[in-house]
Each structure stands twice: as structure tokens, then as C-alpha cells.
């Protein structure tokens, strides 16, 4: 389904990785491993199409993602370093807007937030880091129908309960035939079916 062929990525004149190939089929959970500065985030950004690789191609069902554009965007969820929530809006407004922009029905935002234990009517600006992360991750509950999840450090700033919830969501997504690519430094939690290491 998702195929990356001979990827090379250079940032600031330095080559982070080259000749990296990766193929994902339904049910795969792939962990990207590597020390800080090895290009884990860059690889995820390449896979979702935000960053163009210096060489190589990313293909979805055999078509280059650069030609698919929003056709491809509709089939993925990318949760990056920043929680991507607006401080001035409540958690529910944030989640509903994020879903509508992604072409998903955002009607169940309240129940998704409830699962993550986030107060839905409070402005995100008055929440702690951990609560913001939860507010952002609640989107995964509503993204069951989206085949590809790209998660950058999903467990950062989360407590044990929330981490367990993310874990179960990822496992459930894999069993229903979804694909997950993630980075993490907490190896004990999320269990991948495969690990791609960027360390030389």
C-alpha cells in the first residue's frame, strides 16, 4: 500500500539518510528508531508529503504521492511534534475543526475527548502540556477509517493511562488492517511489528 523507494534526505547540507526503502502493508506497525538528529521526524514528514525527499519516491498504491496530493492526505493522519491545537479554542472546537479539515465527520469530538479525559469546554491555552497532547491525540479515536497513521513521538508528555490508551488504539488500528508508522524513545510501550533504524 505505502511504498518508499530509495529515499535520500539532506537537511542543511548534511545527508541524514540515503537509499532507505520501506514498504507497508495492512496491519503493519513500524517503529522508526534512531538517535536525536538522525532524521526520524524528516522521514515522517517525507512520508506524509510535507517534505520532498532529495532523491527517491513515496508511492501510495503505486502512484507517487506528489501527484495524488489531497487524495493521499485524505488517507493519512499525521500528528507531529507540535500538538496543532489553537490556544484560544476549546478542546472540542479544536478537534471538530481538525476533523472537518481532514474530511472526517467531527460530530463525535466530545466523546473522543472524554475517552482521553480532556475537559472539552476548556480553552486549550489553559491546559497543561500533557492535556494538550491528549487533546491532539483524541483525533486518533475518530480516525479509525483512515488507513495510515504517522505519529511523531505520540507518547511524549503522556502519563501511564494515556500512553496505554494510545497503545490500545494503535493495536486496534493494526488488527482492523490499518498501518502505523511512529517514532518513540519509550521502547517498552508501543510494540512494533518491525523496526527501521536510521543509525548508521
Amino acid at each position: 500500500m505505502l511504498e518508499a523507494v530509495d529515499l535520500e534526505c539532506a537537511r542543511g547540507g548534511r545527508i541524514l539518510f540515503r537509499a532507505l526503502s520501506l514498504a507497508l502493508k495492512p496491519g503493519d506497525v513500524v517503529r522508526i528508531a534512531g538517535e536525536n538528529g538522525r532524521g526520524k521526524t524528516s522521514l515522517l514528514r517525507i512520508l506524509c508529503g510535507l517534505l520532498a525527499p532529495t532523491a527517491g519516491d513515496v508511492r501510495w498504491d503505486g502512484t507517487r504521492i506528489a501527484t495524488l496530493r489531497e487524495e493521499y492526505s485524505r488517507r493519512l493522519v499525521y500528528l507531529g511534534h507540535a500538538p496543532a491545537v489553537k490556544d484560544e479554542l476549546t478542546a472540542e472546537e479544536n478537534l471538530a475543526i481538525a476533523c472537518r479539515l481532514a474530511g472526517l465527520p467531527g460530530a463525535d469530538a466530545a466523546s473522543a475527548l472524554e475517552q482521553f479525559g480532556v475537559p472539552k469546554a476548556r480553552a486549550v491555552g489553559r491546559m497543561s502540556q500533557g492535556q494538550r497532547r491528549r487533546a491532539a491525540l483524541a483525533r486518533l479515536v475518530l480516525s479509525a477509517g483512515v488507513p495510515l497513521w504517522l505519529l511523531d513521538e505520540p507518547l511524549a508528555a503522556l502519563d501511564v493511562d494515556a500512553a496505554a490508551l494510545v497503545e490500545s488504539l494503535v493495536a486496534a488500528h493494526a488488527t482492523r488492517g490499518g498501518m502505523v508508522v511512529f517514532t518513540t524513545h519509550q521502547e517498552a510501550r508501543l510494540v512494533p511489528t518491525r523496526t527501521v533504524s536510521l543509525d548508521a
Partner: protein, 222 residues
């Protein structure tokens, strides 16, 4: 697709409503600058009448440039711009919706308050309508063209000054034609030609600028 456009417009208006001070500053800037001229130049009615269209137009232009940074900067910092780029609707449309919301907040108030400002310059009452109409057609062009500059300078250090240098020269035709339309009417020649030109510029910018902004955003976010 329409839902995405509605969603972006509603979101940006809601954000503006929750951050009223941002909206107020650009409008207040416009009011203060236009009020400084009569104070500085003195109450010589003929001079004031003569410079009114130019001064009001230049102030509107500077004020709309002042608010341009806000268009993408905040979304860039908190990561929501990445999510917008990964949205389900074509990026050009979403960008057009963002510019529309920005104009409703930053441009439309200038159009509405301009006739009131013109009172200070004692211009002929028939000119109020032309002035407002020229701003109504011209300020969206300023927002659209400015959005290209805002997208290109996104995330750059000292981007504010660079943005001004990039965008101000592009504003020149709008300024000349916009202020010209009011001058033509006050000279008794009729400003229809200029206003139609402004309308043509608006149509052209509305079609082309969102595509340029989308391309610029993709480059800026790499």
C-alpha cells in the same frame, strides 16, 4: 470541499473574535495615521481636500500590511498550518478561504470607516461613496497579493521587514488606480474606468494569488 471553506472561514473569524486586540490594532492604526495628517499639515481645507484620497489609501495600505503577518504566522507556530496543508480539500481553496476571513477582519472595517475619516478632510460628499467603493474593490487585492508575500516570508527571521519590501512595490498599481478613481471623480471626469480596472485586478488576484500562496506555503514548510 465547501465544508472545508466554511470551516476555515468560521475558524479564523472565531479566532479573531477571541483575540480582539489583534483586530483592533490595525484599525486603530488606520484611524490614528489618517488623523495625524490634518493635525500636521494644518487646517487648510483646499490642501486637505487635495491630499485626502492619497492619504487615506496609503494609510489603508500600510494598515493592511501590518496585519498580514498574522495571516499564517500563528498557525505556523502551533503546527495547525501543517494540518491545513494535509487537509482533504485542495490547498488553493483553503488558502482563499483564509484570505477571505482575513479581509473580513482586517480589510472590511477600513472600508466601513473610511467615509467617516474622510469627514476630517472636508471632501465633497459625493466622493464618500467612490472612496468606499474603491477601497471595497482594492483592499481584497491587497490581502490577496500580501498573502503571497506572507507565505514566502513565513518563519524567516526579520520576516516583517522583508515582507514590507516584497509587498509594498506590488501594492503600487492598486494605490495609483484606487486613489486615482477618487481624484477623477472629484475632478468631474468620472471614476468608472479606474473602478473597473480595480475590479479586474480583484478578479485576476482572486484566481491566481491562492495558487501562488499554496505553492509558497509548501516551500516554506519544507
Amino acid at each position: 470541499m465547501l465544508d472545508a471553506i466554511r470551516c476555515v472561514v468560521a475558524r479564523d473569524l472565531l479566532l479573531a473574535f477571541r483575540r480582539k486586540s489583534d483586530v483592533g490594532t490595525a484599525l486603530l492604526f488606520f484611524v490614528v495615521v489618517t488623523s495625524l495628517f490634518p493635525l500636521g499639515i494644518g487646517a487648510e481645507p483646499n490642501v486637505l481636500r487635495h491630499i485626502a484620497p492619497g492619504v487615506i489609501w496609503v494609510s489603508a495600505l500600510l494598515s493592511s500590511m501590518l496585519s498580514l503577518r498574522r495571516l499564517f504566522e500563528n498557525d505556523h507556530q502551533d503546527g495547525t498550518l501543517e494540518q491545513i496543508l494535509l487537509g482533504a480539500a485542495p490547498l488553493g481553496l483553503v488558502v482563499a478561504a483564509k484570505v477571505l476571513a482575513h479581509w473580513l477582519v482586517a480589510g472590511l472595517p477600513l472600508v466601513l470607516i473610511a467615509p467617516l475619516i474622510a469627514l476630517q478632510y472636508d471632501i465633497d460628499s459625493v466622493l464618500y461613496g467612490v472612496l468606499a467603493l474603491s477601497l471595497l474593490l482594492g483592499t481584497p487585492v491587497l490581502s490577496l497579493v500580501g498573502a503571497v508575500g506572507a507565505a514566502l516570508t513565513l518563519g524567516l527571521r526579520g520576516g516583517g521587514v522583508l515582507l514590507a519590501l516584497l509587498v509594498l512595490p506590488l501594492y503600487v498599481p492598486v494605490l495609483i488606480i484606487g486613489a486615482g478613481s477618487v481624484e477623477m471623480v472629484s475632478a468631474g471626469l468620472g471614476g468608472a474606468g479606474q473602478l473597473l480596472l480595480l475590479a479586474a485586478m480583484l478578479v485576476g488576484a482572486a484566481v491566481l494569488a491562492p495558487l501562488a500562496v499554496a505553492a509558497a506555503l509548501r516551500i516554506s514548510l519544507e
